[in-house]
Amino acid sequence: MSNIGWKDVLADEMSDDLAHEIDIFEGQMELMGQGKLDEKVFAETRLRRGVYGQRYDNGQRHDGFESRELAFDEKERIKGPDTLWHAPGMQRIKVPGGGLTPNQLDVLAQVADEYSDGILHITTRQDIQLHFVHIEDTPDMMRRLASVGITTREACGNSVRNVTCCHLAGVCRTEVFDATPYSEAFAEFLLGHDDVQDFGRKFKPAFSGCEAEACGLVMMHDIGYLAQIQEVDGNPRRGFKVYVGGGLGTVPHQAKVLSEFTPEEEILPLAQAVSRVFARLGEKRNRNRARIKFLVAKLGIEEFRRLVEEERKTLPHDDRWTAYMDTLPHYEEKPSRPPTFLNGQVRSSEFNQWFETNVYSQRQEGYSVVTVNLPLGDLTSQQTWELADIARKYVGDNVRSTVEQNIVLRWVSDSDLPNLYEELKAIGLGDPGAGTIVDITACPGTDTCKLGIASSRGLAGELRTRLTAKSASLPDAIKDLKIKISGCFNSCGQHHVSDIGFFGNSRRSGNFKMPHFQVILGGKWHDNAGSYGLAVGAVPSKTVPEVVDTITSRYVEERSKGETFQDWIGRIGKKEARNIIQPFMQLPAFEQDPEYFSDWGDPRVFSLGDIGIGECAGEVVSLFSMEISPAESEAFEAQVALDENDPARADALAYSSMLKAARALVRTQFLDVGDSPDRIVQEFKTRFFDTELFFDQYAKGKFGQYLLDRHSNGDPKPDNDAAHRLIEEALLFIEATHACESKVGGNVLVEI
């Protein structure tokens, strides 16, 4: 019983690729534990598996009086710069387009209760995050997720992040066409792609089907695809308007139009060309200028477009660019129940209230989308598997997470809505108000984020409670306003694109710091995040509920008929908007009102002492370092296989490790080497062996010959001795690869 692990139990349920990647990561953890991996390389490695740091993982915590050391074991053992190995962290789990199945929900619930604190948190990128996870648990967690087709690969780090897509895509009443299969193809194509391994910063894509709705929010993304149909020779042709260089963060940029119309068969090569230009010309050393928005701004969109078009011409053909298109004519979601209508059914007032805000009538008659309104994006393991059962009963696999931190059930047959509501209510998930002023978005903030300054979740919870209590009496004009909150200026709560946004900061009063929130007014969620709000001033955190009341009251009093909140803010101007909040900007002394000096939900005297270094910050690691690391892990795995008396597997792993090392070396000169062993060996031989660059001063070409010999042996049939010998040779080959790279000088850098 004790010798069998999840790796064995799930061996037949994981794809080979996912299983192997996880084995490699586990090997890298082992090497890190033995001090054989550079801490920066390991940090980026784990980030690219979604294994993120969390507040206090530097071993320090401010208790309200002083900063104190947390007595973790083995404090010398680290998993990255200033990050203790044993400190719990966050696991981000990618959910492309938010698509989830009941079986996946079951497994997510299980890993949450066995490895985290039993809470699943939906993020503003449709991901799921688990907190307080110990790194030793991550490989098994990944295996269990892989067994239901979920990967955590490139959920963090300088990589292509989760591809978001409108949660209504396919059932929307206003979309041009369903962007879902395109977003899925995009996510699959770029996952682990060679051309996205050398970015200076993260890269966030989005897909949208409607221009006027919020939909995929393409205007605030690094790359955004907006569905379009063009007439060509009298026939409708599908494609996308492509945007590039948008982003929030400290300096928000609206995306620029890269292409007015890119036909469907060109969207993936275009993304690849953009990726290459970004990897080659994007900033690497200064992370504050490394997002693609800065490159687009620096070059100008015309020059950026020219470079992308030139790059496109040089791309070697890839069948995957269009392979997915064969499936498009058959792409459809299957409702699990026939369409019905709600006519005549008795409805409670509670149901009506929920129906008004949480139910969207699909364009397919007889069906609706139900939004499960998750407070602060959270649900428990128990709620998750109960929700999975509800999904099985009513909608099958048609479940998605949303960028507003909710979950939607699609294809609900309309007459099922009353029963569905009762069942959601019974598990604590029947809250009305989805998409309204009470449905507040918040990033993790100081609860768990190393960069958090103020408590975004604490504030969101307080506002939600207060606004819900008076929701019945709220004027119609403000019911649908959006409130979004970030714990710092990095905009994970997307405060720039809300009607009323906040981001955390602090101010000093006497000898104490006071948590504050900068107020951002008039951002636009619609029109794909069509415009960003105005920063009008910072107010103490504890005054924010009153600030919201005051602003919304003024809007209700002063708005002209039909005037939107954005228009009203635009009309009164920044100066008057600031005047509205001015009375709240006065800071009491600590002795006058100590309450102001602690944050929502946190009685400790406020401090900035817990802010750590973001894991995206400042370290430069070469592409070679990132790519040689899996080779070392495989060589390690080969030794384990030999210990387990499996010489064939040991031989295969040792050979594979040499290929990986050779490929890493070749890619310092030639990025397009691909994955074919023949091609890798040929390029290695031509570029490094025949030129004697790989030669050791004394051993000459001996180490390189190990690879050439093994590669030419198509049928090795190794016994234990032969496998052992090959492992030794692989280790020497990897060392020689390091030496060669140092000698030649890698020139491709990535920043973490």
Binding site: M1, S2, I4, G5, W6, V9, R55, Y56, R61, D63, G64, F65, R68, L70, A71, F72, H86, P88, D106, A109, Q110, D113, E114, D117, G118, I119, H131, F132, H134, P375, L376, D378, L379, T380, Q382, Q383, W385, G428, L429, D447, R457, G458, G461, R464, T465, G601, D602, P603, R604
Partner: protein
């Protein structure tokens, strides 16, 4: 029997009428004053916005203490996450004594004193380890770890809670963790239980 990956015990409050928010400053103080022996306390997580869930968590390195409202049954849930023990028996001993210690701290806390009483005549015990302790249905052939675990828990808990203590398996779904219910009609108070476990003052 192998120690489970995680093991939890929940004791239930008698007449719970405290605002869960009042546990937040209490738990922060516990961290500051380092009140739990042999455990590193890290932070407080506020989940009171979740209906019938884990309202307030005192997150630790080895274990979490949770003011848990799941299923409408308020209680103190102790989740042992690390250094669980060498086998199921020792894991149960560690988890039970630390859970009871948590109960004592809660009942006697200076800010909560007199407001809370934890019942010792019942508890929920969960083996959070679907690999080694699958929640297989009774009699389906894969339930031998569950059967053996029940026997082990029964033996150990009777020695602490009294001979009339019974451990029954909760008939929950196979995807949920293996769960048992302790019924101990003649159980003594927390101090006596701790003394029986050799963990008293």
């Amino acid at each position: 029997m192998i120690a489970p990956h995680r093991l939890s015990i929940k004791f239930f409050f008698d007449d719970f009428s405290v605002d869960v928010e009042s546990f937040i400053p209490v738990f922060h103080r516990w961290i500051r004053e380092d009140v739990v022996p042999n455990e590193l306390l890290l932070d407080v997580a506020d989940y009171k916005h979740i209906v019938d869930g884990p309202a307030i968590l005192l997150v630790g390195h080895e274990a979490d203490y949770v003011i848990d409202l799941t299923d409408g049954k308020p209680g103190l849930l102790y989740v042992r996450k690390r250094d669980v023990g060498s086998d199921l028996s020792s894991a149960l001993g560690t988890t039970l004594s630390q859970a009871l210690n948590g109960a004592k701290l809660t009942e006697n806390d200076v800010e909560l004193k007199g407001k809370l009483k934890l019942r010792t005549d019942g508890a929920a015990i969960v083996l959070l380890d679907r690999l080694n302790y699958p929640n297989a249905a009774n009699g389906d052939g894969a339930d031998s770890p569950a059967v053996a675990a029940q026997a082990q828990l029964s033996e150990n808990l009777a020695a602490v809670f009294g001979d009339d203590a019974t451990v029954t398996r909760v008939a929950n779904h196979a995807r949920e963790p293996l769960t048992f219910k302790l019924h101990a009609p003649s159980a003594p108070d927390v101090d006596t239980l701790l003394n029986r476990l050799g963990s008293g003052d």
